[in-house]
Point group: C2
Chain length 205, copies 2
């Protein structure tokens, strides 16, 4: 199975702007990507990166396609002859165990939902399935699979459901992260504030 | 194994106030409770409810303890001789499959985390384990298990991680709910608004 990790190289994770500078957001996005690749590397999968521009990455092949995410992934699906998995790069809680559940779940289309209707990871074994990552992609992907008569299975994983877009998501990384992203946050002064009625993320500068 | 579902009968789910009236919040909290009980009822477990005040509930025994959640649960754990599971009442995405994973995971202490450091469900097979549901209970529960030398396992479930406290959480129920809570929301005009760049919850009145 091909396992593709899309990665946008330009101004990533803008919604983390209240906590991280532009340079830091880029660095943190790359650390999250490496966590995802390391977790995939501990499964039988050989991940590859689909990036909007070329950049250095040891040991993992990078294909460049500067089109929007949906178009770039679908171009790859259109010429793929094997099953393909697409795993987002902003899933720093992904573990080999969670990813193995994704990759080994049978079904023409396997979806790992994110919050708010996102699709954080998927596997397609159907030649005509195409992605649509706009808006509530999870519902769109269900619809498309249904239209194709493709069987659908859903992977119930908190770890795969946790993509990192907003400052609140950093709390999840600090609490549950086992990879370099959690360490990177701590090294940059991002901490859990447990003094209030609910836990919050704070940055010490 | 005893399976206990705590339920607060007084003014529940106040953070849903922007979307639901006080009476509606009470009704919706009971629908969510019934979804959790129905999902548990489809497993070998025989659930019981631990409520802050008596109320009518068919087919499920209700124990009343008007103390705060942590105290009421710990009073029960202190006299329990068997393993005990504690499953929150606001998990309307819980399915028999997800709950079976919780109940069948081995370990002295089994935790199903919620977002922001919550503990949405747990199993204790250690006689001295006690809960602390304040603040980041997940971290506290890890610490307590560690202090006891108890083995800990974590159940990686998006469905169990999704407790319903805030309007955004209703989006998860509308997208992924398979029980009466999703139907109740739709019947009360709570819908997904897919017109903006991100999906949102709206109420039609």
């Amino acid at each position: 199975m091909r396992v593709v990790v899309p990665f946008g190289t330009r101004d990533p994770k803008t919604r983390l702007d209240p906590v991280l500078s532009a340079d830091e957001r880029m660095a943190f996005a790359r650390v999250m990507l490496k966590d995802v690749l390391a977790a995939l590397g501990a499964t039988p999968a050989k991940p590859e990166v689909l990036a909007t521009a070329d950049f250095d990455l040891e040991d993992v092949p990078v294909t460049v396609d500067d089109r929007p995410l949906t178009d770039a992934v679908n171009a790859l699906l259109a010429v793929a002859s094997d099953p393909v998995a697409v795993v987002m790069a902003d899933l720093p809680l992904a573990t080999p165990t969670a990813l193995t559940r994704l990759l080994e779940t049978p079904g023409d289309v396997v979806l790992a939902p994110g919050r708010a209707g996102g699709t954080n990871a998927l596997v397609t074994r159907h030649p005509d399935f195409r992605t649509d990552y706009h808006d509530t992609s999870y519902l769109d992907h269900l619809d498309r699979a249904h239209d194709l008569g493709a069987s659908v299975r859903v992977v119930d994983s908190y770890r795969l459901s946790t993509d990192v877009d907003e400052p609140d998501d950093l709390l999840e990384v600090l609490i549950h992260g086992e990879g370099d992203a959690a360490t990177w946050l701590r090294d940059h002064g991002v901490r859990i504030d447990r003094s209030g009625p609910r836990a919050d993320v704070v940055r010490e500068r």
